[in-house]
């Protein structure tokens, strides 16, 4: 009889907080600056320096806790986690250990189920090490990231599949983005995921030996990595082997988990309370202030979009799927107060183009500029068809819509004489279709309209053209 195994998965997600400055010093918290330019004696771990806690980081941690239904501790304690590595200047990371800022809570999976959280704690990020190929004996260290504020969100080991882990991450990211706690950019490492994975025979309750899977740098990697690790462990167990407790790294290129370091000699981090920082005490007033400043959560926003903008439930759902898109929509509507038209454009041409560009990120167009385009369209200066061309050009060039309309010669033609000439030409060129229409085939009207629009390069005003085309056809009945 073969044993069936079930997976036990716990996720540890590190989220960089969207603060202006680092967690313990005044250095800028920004991605992408030249190496070692966002540093000071404090984050470089120079002799004699002391950490001062960034209050904003605390507020964002509490905000995350609120959004995920955690208990916020009125007293939490920072601790030193000791280990040597060149990207850790002090030789210890300031983190939280037995008294984290948030406990409990849960992440919804989007299908009514949710995953319980163990805790959320505050800590500082480390720098980045580089081992350049052909760099000889040298490695390089960039300490810009040192001291960037992080929260680590730790789930209970209750996730059962890679698919659920994926949903967990998608929903967690969405909430963190929504609450403006983290920008959720996995490519840049603002959101990073590690998974603890073990297997056990179905029906048993004791936990098997776990491995820690690191370097899950995208949603895809999270799903594939966990799937592969489950398969690897299952193969070993089915073959009668035992799992070694070790840290694995997901090799996305080869699609396999690779052992990093053995945990046989378990790391002793020698945690102890950080003497340079007093315990973090949070008053009821402080907690209330953070709660009052809490951004709207996805469900509330979807409902508001329906009532405030009169959107259908489905449309409201699409537009509030990401916080960025919802914010973009609201800015457009602020400058162009016709929510239905704005929604149609976003859900149509906008999202189509975004999908074509294979990104989750917003297109490089300012919402104000899109509002201008929609206003031009509504005012009749440009036709919807030409508007799409202008929009694509805006994304490409970043130029203003009014300028592009002129540049591309896409001003809408509403002049009766000019349009009548075009209509006459089209009808003359398509006698068969004209005959079909006259024979009762209404559908042909669409084709003929398309030909007319094509002849005007999309510039013809459909409001003028539609009745004109019909009238010209009817006139042929004689």
């Amino acid at each position: 009889m073969t044993t069936h195994y079930e997976a036990v998965i716990g996720l540890e997600v590190h989220a960089q907080l969207m603060t202006r400055t680092k967690i313990f010093c005044g250095c800028e918290n920004r991605f992408g600056a030249p190496p070692n330019t966002l540093v000071c004696p404090v984050c470089l771990g120079m002799p004699g320096v002391l950490p001062v806690l960034n209050e904003r980081a605390v507020e964002l941690a509490i905000r995350a806790g609120n959004a995920l239904g955690c208990d916020i501790r009125s007293r939490s304690v920072f601790a030193r986690k000791n280990y040597f590595y060149p990207d850790l200047p002090k030789g210890y990371q300031i983190s939280q250990f037995d008294q984290p800022v948030c406990e409990g809570g849960h992440v919804p999976l989007g299908d009514g189920r949710s995953i319980e959280l163990t805790r959320i704690h505050l800590e500082e990020d480390a720098g980045k090490s580089f081992h350049p190929e052909g760099g000889g004996e040298h490695s390089l260290v960039d300490l810009n990231r040192c001291g960037v504020p992080l929260i680590e969100i730790v789930s209970e080991p209750v996730i059962r599949s890679a698919e659920d882990a994926y949903s967990y991450l998608v929903n967690l990211k969405r909430i963190l983005e929504y609450t403006e706690v983290c920008d959720g950019n996995m490519e840049q490492g603002s959101l990073r995921c590690d998974a603890n994975v073990s297997l056990r025979p179905v029906g048993t309750t004791t936990l098997g030996t776990k491995t820690e899977l690191k370097n899950l740098n995208s949603f895809r990697a999270t799903r594939l990595g966990i799937e592969a690790e489950i398969a690897r462990q299952e193969k070993i167990l089915t073959g009668g082997g035992t799992i070694r407790q070790e840290t694995m790294q997901w090799d996305a290129d080869r699609g396999v988990p690779v052992p990093m370091r053995s945990k046989e000699e378990a790391h002793d981090y020698r945690y102890f309370p950080e003497p340079d920082l007093p315990p973090l005490l949070l008053s009821q007033e402080k907690l209330r202030a953070v709660r009052d400043a809490m951004p709207e959560l996805p469900d509330a926003k979807r409902e508001r979009f329906q009532t405030e903008y009169g959107l259908r439930e489905y449309d409201a759902g699409v537009l509030t799927d990401s916080a960025q898109l919802a914010r973009f929509f609201e800015t457009v509507v602020k400058h162009f107060p016709h929510a239905d038209r704005a929604a149609n454009f976003l859900m149509g041409p906008y999202l189509r183009l975004q999908k074509e560009q294979e990104g989750d990120d917003l297109l490089p167009v300012e919402p104000e500029a899109l509002a201008q385009l929609l206003a031009l369209e509504k005012g009749g200066a440009v036709s919807p068809a030409a508007g799409r061309q202008v929009f694509e050009a805006m994304v490409r060039t970043g130029k203003a819509p009014a300028d592009l309309v002129k540049e591309l010669g896409l001003e809408q033609i509403s002049d009766d004489g000019a349009l009548q000439t075009v209509v006459d030409e089209v009808l003359a060129a398509n006698p068969e279709q004209v005959a079909e229409f006259l024979g009762g085939k209404e559908k042909v009207l669409g084709f003929l309209m398309g030909q007319v629009m094509k002849a005007t390069r999309g510039k013809g005003n459909p409001g003028v053209l539609t009745p004109m085309l019909r009238a010209s056809l009817e006139a042929k009945r004689g």
């Binding site: 004696p41 470089l44 771990g45 120079m46 002799p47 004699g48 320096v49 002391l50 950490p51 001062v52 806690l53 030193r80 000791n82 040597f84 060149p86 200047p89 002090k90 030789g91 210890y92 260290v141 002793d268 020698r270 945690y271 102890f272 003497p275 340079d276 920082l277 007093p278």
Partner: protein, 495 residues
């Protein structure tokens, strides 16, 4: 004016009167340093004459144009070399920081400069302030100006010797378990450890972060009060800095003390206390008696336990604090190593001295999984109990008086291979650090007419004004010791 004995108050008055210039102070200091340093070795670095004289001239000019208000203006101050200063090396007495230049001034240095003081140079110390004799400096020991065969105490031995020898008018030290008070006592000067959180630690190279405090070593209590007032105050860049306005200690220094109750711990008179020290301290108490309301016996039952508790808490913190000296970003780096691990081991192996390594090992062990509860956590419990004992004691007294050290200065080399004996030097001083209390050591006479001794006072947290007031009155009864007669030849008048 005898510049080897003059107080800051007297010097400031002479500077104001125009009978003395800051340049005279610099010349005096450099002359005395040149004469005495070959024997005493109180300094690791003395700033160059040109810079000091230029700053002194600027100070004198500012004074003439009425731009000077602080009594410290124009006065050279010596700084323990574990306090970061721009423009000089800051080595903490360690090979691992040889030639290290700080990119910033410690808050206390900013404050001294703002008060117009001149930074004279950097004083010798036990490596990373770990020691009670200044023998643990990587750059050679400091000798006691009263007897060159003996230690000046430590770890602020260089600061104490510089003041005792009349080379410096005052100096900054740091005190983690007695490192200001013990050398002050053994060299015959005044040493103040302020309440934890009163003086910013920003820029002090950390040893035991929850215990370290910067404080003055001075020729008299009034000078110590002046320096304390200049360096104390909330620092938003130090999260452990107290946001409490304590007021000026100088303002109330000479107020009456005839309602003060002095508690003397019974445990002070225990095993290990040198008979000469005991006699001297008892005699000092007899002289204080008539000036105060009453002297009563109190209990500090855990005084003895303070030593093991301290050597676990301080070393645990030190083991993490010293991790940053890894050869990666600054300081010594071993160039022979082939791997990262080897680089760490060789750099730290060569860069740290024996005592520092001993304490890193001790602290690492105390924090290790499986030992944490038995060592670190237990030590923290003892620490809390000691704080409670003090709180109880201060219900029946206003200040506590006890010896500063169990013995007078001991010969160089005598205890260096016997850490347990060495650690006992801190018996009377450690408890104030564990409880965060302010404490001061003032001279109380000479042992066998040759070696200075100190008596210690402690007060409740943030009661520096009370502490210094009682100390000032007591000092008036006991007198100051001045410079050791044996080195006074050729010293003296600036003019």
């Amino acid at each position: 004016m005898d510049l080897t004995r003059a107080t800051i108050t007297e010097i400031a008055a002479a500077l104001d009167a125009g009978s003395l210039a800051s340049t005279d102070l610099v010349e005096h200091t450099l002359r005395e340093t040149g004469r005495l340093e070959p024997e005493v070795h109180a300094f690791l670095h003395v700033r160059d004459r040109e810079s000091l004289l230029r700053e002194a001239k600027e100070s004198d000019a500012a004074r003439r144009s009425g731009g000077v208000t602080s009594p410290l203006a124009g006065i050279p101050v010596a700084i323990k070399d574990n306090i970061c200063t721009i423009g000089t090396p800051t080595t903490a007495g360690s090979r691992i920081l040889e030639g290290f230049q700080s990119a910033y001034d410690a808050t206390v240095i900013e404050k001294l400069k703002a008060a117009g003081a001149l930074i004279l140079g950097k004083c010798n110390l036990d490596e990373f302030a770990m020691g009670s004799s200044t023998e643990n400096s990587a750059y050679g020991p400091t000798t006691n100006p009263w007897d060159p065969a003996r230690v000046p105490g430590g770890s602020s031995g260089g600061s104490a010797a510089a003041v005792a020898a009349g080379m410096a008018f005052t100096a900054l030290g740091s005190d983690t378990g007695g490192s200001i008070r013990q050398p002050a006592a053994l060299t015959g000067v005044v040493g103040l450890k302020p309440t934890y959180g009163t003086v910013s630690r920003r820029g002090l190279i950390a040893f035991g972060s929850s215990l370290d405090q910067i404080g003055p070593l001075a020729r008299c209590v009034a000078d110590a009060a002046l320096v304390f007032d200049a360096i104390a105050g909330n620092d938003p860049r130090d999260a452990t800095s107290a946001d409490i306005a304590t007021g000026s200690a100088c303002d109330t220094l000479h107020d009456s003390i005839d309602t003060i109750r002095v508690g003397v711990p019974r445990q002070s008179w225990g095993e290990g206390l040198d008979a000469g020290v005991e006699a001297s301290v008892r005699s000092a108490l007899d002289q204080l008696g008539p000036a105060v309301a009453e002297i009563t016996a109190i209990d500090l039952p855990l005084l003895e336990a303070s030593i093991p508790a301290y050597y676990l808490v301080a070393t645990a913190e030190a083991s993490a604090n010293l991790s940053r000296f890894d050869g990666v970003r600054y300081g010594l780096r071993d160039k022979q190593a082939g791997t990262l691990d080897e680089m760490y081991k060789r750099t730290r192996g060569h860069g740290f001295g024996t005592e520092v390594k001993r304490r890193i090992l001790l602290g690492t062990h105390a924090l290790s999984s499986g030992y944490y509860d038995a060592y670190y956590l237990r030590a923290m419990k003892v620490r809390r109990k000691i704080a409670d004992d003090f709180a109880r004691a201060f219900e029946t007294c206003d200040v506590i008086a006890l010896p500063a050290t169990p013995t007078p200065a001991f010969p160089i080399g005598e205890q260096i291979d016997d850490p347990i004996t060495m650690y006992r030097n801190d018996l009377y001083t450690i408890a104030a650090n564990l409880a965060g209390l302010p404490a001061i050591s003032i001279p109380c006479g000479l042992h066998d007419d040759t070696l200075p001794l100190g008596v210690q006072l402690m007060a409740p947290r943030f009661e520096e004004s009370r502490l210094l007031r009682v100390a000032s009155h007591w000092e008036a009864k006991l007198g100051t010791l001045g410079r050791p007669p044996r080195i006074s030849a050729n010293g003296g008048d600036a003019r």
